[in-house]
Structure formats: C-alpha cells, structure tokens
C-alpha cells in the first residue's frame, strides 16, 4: 500500500487543505523542492540500493517506530517546524546535520508546511 501512493501536487494540497492562499501554496511548493533535493534521497519512498526494501532513512524510521508511526516523513503529521529544525541543525543518530547554507530557516519552515500538506493529502488518499 505504501508504495502505491504517489507524490501529490500542490493542487491536491489545495483541495485537501481547503481554501489556502497562493502564498501558502508557494511555500508548500518550496518545501517540496527542499524535500526532494535534501531529504528524499534518504527519506523518500521507493527501494534502497542493492535490493534494500527502503531507502536508509525511511528504513531507520521503520525500525525505530515499529509501525507506531509512518516511516515515511511525507506521511507524518507530527513534525512541526521547530522539531524539524532541531533535527536538521543537529543531526540525529547516523544522520548528520545540515547547515544554513544548504537548508535555510525559511526552507525548514517550508519543509514543515510541505510535510503537513503531504501527510494530509496522503491520509485522504488512504482507504
């Protein structure tokens, strides 16, 4: 089921969230770009290398949460910007931190907006 979900567009977010402003949509789009650029290579959907069933970050969260929370960040509804910022700036476990020159504070806020919108949209798609 997890693999059958597809990335949704900003348009879908707009439907999911009700009436949101163009500015909010732009922020979500920015967050999607940040996610795909910096997060998805480790925390995205799809298989990992060498036949691994998941990408490394997704797999680590799958093992950590044991089904209590989604392993995909794009399905998580509990990731406020401050929490994301703490993880991004300090790293956690084997994930190293990211600097402001890579992911700005504005990017982190956009990332939080994207993940919130993504998880809302995905929860609506799930049976």
């Amino acid at each position: 089921m997890r693999r059958s979900l597809v990335l949704v567009t900003a348009g879908a977010f707009a439907l999911a969230a009700g009436a949101i402003t163009a500015q909010e949509t732009a922020v979500v789009e920015q967050g999607k770009v940040v996610f795909q650029h910096y997060c998805a290579p480790c925390h995205g959907d799809g298989r990992g290398d060498d036949g691994a069933p998941m990408l490394p970050g997704t797999h680590a969260l799958y093992l950590k949460y044991k089904g209590q929370k989604p392993e995909l960040l794009e399905q998580r509804m509990d990731l406020p910007a401050e929490f994301i910022r703490a993880i991004v700036r300090n790293g956690v476990a084997s994930m190293p931190p990211f600097r402001k020159t890579e992911v700005t504070d504005e990017d982190i806020a956009a990332l939080a907006a994207y993940l919130a919108a993504s998880s809302r949209a995905r929860s609506r798609q799930s049976p």
Binding site: D49, A52, G57, S94, T101, E102
Partner: protein, 552 residues
C-alpha cells in the same frame, strides 16, 4: 562566540567578523552555537572533548570576489580559514577544520554549473555544486555524459577531488584528482590564479589540456592548503551504449595470485571498469570451524582453507568484472577476459552476468536477481549518485534499537599483489584484536580497486558497538587504535591515502623518507605562498611556520 582562533585577540576577531559581514552580508556570517553546530564533525572520534576540532565562525561567500575579500581580511587579522565545498566529507572530518578555532569558509552558496560539454566531455563547476546537482543538471538537459560518483554522492566534485576521492566506473574517471582538468584558485594573497590552459587570457581548451606550460600546480591543492579552489574542470565519461558484467571464480586460496595478475592486465589495458573482488567462502563464516580457520592469528593456513572450501563445494575467490562500450565490444572484452582467466587459472569458473542497454532502467538499477549474487553497487557503477550506502550505518533488523554512530576510515594503499592482501588480512586483524577493537577483517577480506593502479585495503572500523566512543575509554581506544594500525601498516610499507583532520599529522608523519624531505618541501611552499599561514593550517600535515609546534 565561545571559541577564538588561536593567537587572535577578541578585538581583532570582532573586527574580522565585521569585515566578513561587510563582504558577504550579515546573514552569511555565522557565529551562534546553533548556527555552528552543523560545522562539527558528526562522526568525530573525540566528540564533546576539549580538543574537538570546532570552528570559531563560518562565512559563506557566493562570489569569487567575496572569497578574495575574506582572504584579505584573514591576512589582516591573522585569522585561520578552513574552506569547505559541501562539507560532506564524512568519516574524513566532514566540515570540521584541522585547527580548532578556524573560520570555516563555506562555499556551498557558490553552486553554479558553469558548463557541461557533451561533445568534448567535461564540466566546469563551482565548489557548492554537489554530485546530485550536477547529475540533475545533466539529466534535465538530456546530455549524454556520465559522472563518476563517490559513495555516498552528496558531496561535491570539487570537495571530493580536493580530498582525492574515488569512484566506480572506468579507471581514469574514478581517480577524481586525476580527472580534474584545470582549477581556478584564490591564493592566500587574495589573487586569483588559473592553471593549465586557463592561464591563457583567452584560453579555449582549459578543460582539455590541464597542464598548460611549465609546472602544473593544480596537483598541489588536493590534500593541501595553498589556496581556495573556486572553479574546477572535470572530465566526464561519454555515456556508453551498453554495460555488461561477468563473474570469475577460482577454486584455491593461492589462485588469488593469478587472478590478481589477470585483472591487473585487463585493467591496465583499460578493458574493464572497477573490478569487485570477493570470496564465495563468506557463506561459511557462520560455521565455527570455518570461522576459526578464517580468523586464525598469524594468517590462514592455505591447505586448511582449501580443504574447507572443497568440502563445501565452494570456490575461494571471485572477481566481478564490468564492461562499458557497445554490445559487441563489451561482449568481445568479456569473452577475452574469460579466455585469459581460463588460460591463467585452472578450474576457473566463468559466469555471464547481465547485458544491458544504457541507460539502465530504474528497475535494472535496483535489480539484484541476476545470474549470480553480486556485491557490485549498481547506482555508482552507472554514474548515478545515491545515499543508499547509508544503510550500512543505520539501525538493522537484527538490532533495531541501536545504530553505529559512524566509522573511522583507514584504507591502506597496497601493491596490487595477492601476497600483500594475504599479509594485510592478518596484520590488520591481529593488531585490531590486540587493541581490543572489534574487527570485520578475516582471511576472506579483499582489496578495493577504486584507484586505477593500486589496491586499497579497508582496515577502518565502526565507532558503534564494541568500538563505541560514548565513553572516554571508548574514545581513547578508537584514537589509539587507529594510530596503532597506522604504525603497524607503516612497518609493512603501507599507509593511508586519506585521513580525517584529527589523524592527518599521524599519516603525514609516516611519509618520512630522507628526514621528511617531502613535508619540508611542502612547508617551504606553504611559508612562501601563505606567509601568514591563514589557509587551512595543518591540512595534509602541512603547518605554517608559526603553528608548527601544534603538529600532533
């Protein structure tokens, strides 16, 4: 501002920071604890200790002119700088400096792909361009050129080249320092210099003839500290039409001698890509008798290993070969490799692998169900950057609630002989066991051919599990352990090709022929081109005159 650069007063440091702000803007001069936290080495062997290599500040220019301004300010206030490209050189220090208190010059914002030429097969990039960035740039434009990526691939071509990183395709390309083709450098004086044909004011072949005329100083910048590289050319491999692999296995332990010689021959004729050695006998490591034989102190007994292999109907060694070209040329090269192996090694098995049109599909890149079990990492052999290798550091199904924090790398350069491999297997294993370190090395450990003309033998170790650095004792064990391994390697004429800042003096100390003539030469240059010693003091074991007392 918890840390000051050594020898710099608080007032002078404040003045330097103010000038940095003038050069790049307030937003890009970082000095708060939160902003500097990501500049720590996340895998430091000395986390949270007094001598952890922490920066005093970071400054992030986005133009060459800003880099020049930063360097001039640093000269005025004698402020040590440490340039990074994308800061992803993990296990080799990440973004952390050699000298505690240095100001990081974070070049990530200089992120332009200046040119990709798919007819003459090169790229010209800025330091902040990552392999992912360059790959996307190429893919979005449908260009028919390949990258040679390190693994993981989130670093930058410039950063990786400046640490003599490696890759996985054809020999020339996987030596990243060798595939460099012309650099632009901001010198310690603040001047901008270009090497090779880039030194011609209207040079038209900068990325095609890297030597220009006279000495070529471009080779001084990798693992050195003579300038800040702001542009670099790199050769790109034309996208081949076809890729093919095949497996050669040989029955006896001693057959590794002929197998290595055969692969050396094919490699040096440029007929194969990165060959991947391994041992089918790994399947037996769960067996107590076999494990004891494979981890025997002083090295394995050849007859015993052959007997155990024969009893299990397994061959002792394997090498997976890969071929780039057209369908016909890759087939011809594989057929020749088979003929050569059969001629050189009695009993060799020759197994056809896959034969695939390039580019491979996503499914083909993910596929691991070919004709035989393969260790060959498909993304990197196809020039596709990936973070998939991070799986080696994370939680595992067997231990879901713990994780390895990182690893300390030691890749000893060995001659390309089986005898050197046999020696390295027991020398490194025995030393690690004596030091109380967990070791994954055994009589089946095989060399890496990341460099075109040398073996690298992995003697690094995880800093998790029994090698954890969570306690002072654990940290000491890891630090002392690596140093002891380096010393043991040197006894055998081997050494490390690359090291984290914390260990660079230890490695440089070993390259001591004729009373350190090489280091004295390097430091003579350092004093001449960087008289105030502001650029990456200590990098590569090269210290400026006023800081030589800090040599570890």
């Amino acid at each position: 501002m918890a840390i000051l650069p050594p020898g710099v007063s608080s007032a002078d440091f404040g003045s330097a920071l103010a000038e940095f702000v003038g050069a790049v803007g307030k937003e890009w001069v970082l000095s708060s604890d939160e902003d500097l936290a990501p500049y720590r080495d996340h895998y430091s062997p000395v986390p949270l200790e007094e001598d952890e290599l922490l920066p005093s500040a970071a400054v992030a220019p986005n133009t060459v002119e800003q880099v020049q301004a930063i360097v001039r300010t640093a000269n005025r206030y004698r402020t040590p700088l440490y340039p990074i490209s994308t800061g992803k050189n993990f296990a080799y220090g990440g973004p952390a400096p050699n000298l505690r208190g240095s100001v990081i010059v974070d070049l990530k914002r200089m992120n332009k792909v200046l040119e990709v030429n798919a007819e003459r097969n090169f790229a010209l990039v800025e330091p902040g361009v990552s392999y992912f960035d360059l790959y996307r740039h190429i893919q979005e434009r449908g260009l028919k050129v390949w990258l040679d990526c390190p693994d993981p691939g989130w670093g930058s071509p410039i950063g990786n080249t400046m640490d003599r990183g490696i890759g996985y395709t054809l020999g020339f390309y996987r030596d990243h320092a060798g595939a460099q083709c012309g650099v632009e450098v901001v010198l310690a004086s603040g001047e901008v210099m270009r090497t090779g044909m880039g030194a011609l004011p209207n040079g038209r072949a900068w990325q095609e003839y890297k030597y220009g005329f006279g000495p070529d100083p471009a080779g001084l910048f990798p693992q050195g500290n003579y300038g800040i590289v702001t542009k670099m050319g790199l050769r790109l491999m034309p996208q081949p039409e076809h890729w093919r692999n095949g497996l050669v296995t040989v029955p006896k332990r001693r057959d590794l001698v002929a197998l290595v010689n055969t692969v050396n021959y094919l490699n040096d004729l440029c007929m194969i890509g990165d060959p991947w050695y391994g041992s089918p006998l790994r399947a037996l490591l769960g067996n107590t008798e076999f494990r004891e034989a494979a981890t025997r102190r002083g090295g394995a007994n050849e007859a015993e290993m052959d007997r155990l292999a024969a009893a299990a109907s397994l061959h002792s060694w394997q090498v997976e070969l890969q071929f780039y070209g057209s369908e016909r040329t890759t087939l011809a090269n594989w057929e020749y490799a088979k003929e050569l192996a059969a001629r050189n090694i009695p009993g060799a098995r020759l197994i056809d692998g896959e034969s695939l049109a390039v580019p491979l599909t996503r499914e083909q890149i993910e596929k691991t169900t070919g004709p035989y079990s393969t260790n060959m990492r498909r993304n990197v052999t196809q020039g596709v950057p990936s973070l998939g290798i991070w799986k080696n550091l994370g939680r595992t199904e067997a231990a879901p609630d713990s994780w390895a924090q990182g690893h300390v790398g030691l890749f000893a350069v060995l001659p390309r002989t089986a005898e050197a491999v046999f020696d390295a297997q027991h020398v490194f294993r025995d030393t690690m066991i004596d030091l109380g370190l967990e070791s994954g090395i055994n009589a089946l450990s095989t060399p890496l051919m990341w460099y075109q003309f040398a073996f690298l033998f992995s003697a690094g170790f995880s800093t998790g599990g029994g090698n954890a650095v969570a306690t002072p004792e654990g940290k000491a064990k890891v630090r002392d352990g690596l140093r002891a391994l380096l010393a043991k390697a040197a006894e055998h004429g081997w050494s490390e090709y690359r090291a984290a800042p914390y260990f660079q003096d230890d490695v440089a100390e070993q390259y001591s022929f004729n009373d350190h003539a090489l280091r004295r030469f390097n430091e003579t240059i350092k004093d001449a081109v960087d008289p105030n010693g502001i650029l990456a003091p200590g990098r590569g074991g090269i210290w400026p005159k006023h800081l030589r007392g800090r040599r570890a």
